[in-house]
Amino acid sequence: MSDPANITLVTMDGTTFTVPSAYLHRSKLVQDWLRSEGDKQAMEVKHVTPFVLQGVLNFCEIHAEDTSEPLADPADPTKPFEADPRDDAFRGMPDDQLLQFTMAADILQIPELVRLTAQEMASRIDGKSPDQIRAMFNPDDLAEEDVDSDNEMGEVGEEGAISK
């Protein structure tokens, strides 16, 4: 084991980050890794860019001393989301980056960060018209989807009429 107090993470392009492993106590992926392969030098996080990992680690650092109970499921509706002024860095971020953070949070399995980014994303979708939401999608993905949905709509309408 290299150093039990610190953990080294390697991103997509080989950049390394060494942080106290206490920061990452909420990340299930890191915890599992420490348990099984903790004797290795560095943990590879291949799908995460350095910038995003930096942001995630900042988040972890800010929340390292939080004592709240860890979330089991990011989509748990029984626990209302509470905005934390410490997380304001995520508020003004462009959609694209926010999504990258969401993905990274999902890869590292940090439910608190998934919850935070999901909530922020939801607040951006809220109150938008279908056309505005469509702009947040990849136009290529939607082109084929639209054909499907039109067909389905037609079927539903006819079925409803015939069912009488």
């Binding site: 942001g55 990011p74 999504l99 999902d106 279908p130 990849n138 409803g160």
Partner: protein, 282 residues
């Protein structure tokens, strides 16, 4: 103290990095559709009903996900569908219905009354049949459903002459691209012997169930229909326009259910005026 300083530095660093990174990571832009379904569900969990409904219009994938959350929301919350019945603009009733089940064969959502309600309506040669006037979606987080609070474009008349159970299927033509169907089941019975009828020909109408596909709640409104709606609300004489639209579309809908033959054309402009008058008098 020390921690607060550190935090400040951290967030500053993050914003600095942000400017750098937008330049470097721009070749691979992520879209919402890149996210796995679990995360999308977590996002949708935080949306209110009106946003979920507009999401249904975005694509099949989001529609499926939104359905899951919507069904959950409608089952758990205090959200309900409110039906407005009316006869001759004089007798008005509202009935609240809650989502109780989903019909596994048709995929339709079945709403049943929150509490049993009886509407006392009258069958008479000089009175028009009672109508289903409005359909609204109510709930703690539905206030933001702006212009489309009434899902029924035109009142639907209900048969009450003979006693028995009815299941009427209506098709709705939003003056847009999509046709949706919904059905209303109700019982018609005579006034019980121990209750004095307020008028001859009284019928007790008991709504039993309201069934509709979820599509019903998110009609796609195109720009033409928005203009028509605006004109209707502005001048209260949209009848010619509407019937014109209905006539133009007649030929294209051969497969309509028999129950909804002349539903769209039956509007009385004077009735609208009456409604406004009585409201202002009240």
């Amino acid at each position: 103290m020390h921690f607060a300083q550190k935090r400040h530095v951290a967030s500053k660093q993050l914003t600095q990095n942000a400017t750098l990174a937008t330049a470097s990571t721009h070749q691979r832009i992520l879209y919402l559709s890149a996210l796995p379904n679990e995360i999308l569900l977590a996002i949708l969990e935080d949306l209110d009903i009106s946003s979920l409904l507009s999401l249904c219009n975005v694509g099949t994938r989001f529609q499926t996900l939104a359905y899951i959350i919507l069904a959950k929301r409608l089952l758990n919350n205090q959200s309900c569908v409110r039906l407005f019945f009316e006869q001759e603009s004089r007798w008005r009733f509202t009935v609240d219905l809650k989502l109780t089940s989903v019909n596994p064969y048709t995929g339709q959502f079945v709403f049943t009354p929150v509490k049993p309600t009886v509407l006392r309506v009258f069958n008479s040669a000089i009175l028009r049949n009672p109508t289903l006037q409005k359909i609204e979606l109510l709930g703690p987080d539905v206030e933001s459903l702006k212009a489309q609070t009434n899902f029924l474009s035109l009142p639907k008349p209900l048969q009450i002459k003979t006693m028995g159970s009815y299941r009427r299927c209506f098709s709705l033509h939003h003056p847009s691209t999509r046709t949706t169907a919904f059905s209303l089941s109700y019982d018609v019975s005579p006034t019980p012997a121990d209750v004095k009828a307020t008028r001859t020909g009284e019928r007790w109408l008991t709504p039993v169930a309201f069934e509709c596909p979820l599509v019903f709640f998110y009609p796609q409104t195109n720009s033409t229909s928005k203009v028509l709606q605006w004109m209707n609300s502005k001048f209260a004489r949209g009848v010619q326009l509407r019937s014109y639209v209905a006539r133009g579309r007649k030929s294209s809908r051969a497969g309509r259910p028999p129950g909804a033959e002349k539903d769209d054309v039956q509007v009385k402009p004077i009735e609208c005026r009456e409604t406004i008058d009585t409201k202002s008098l009240d």
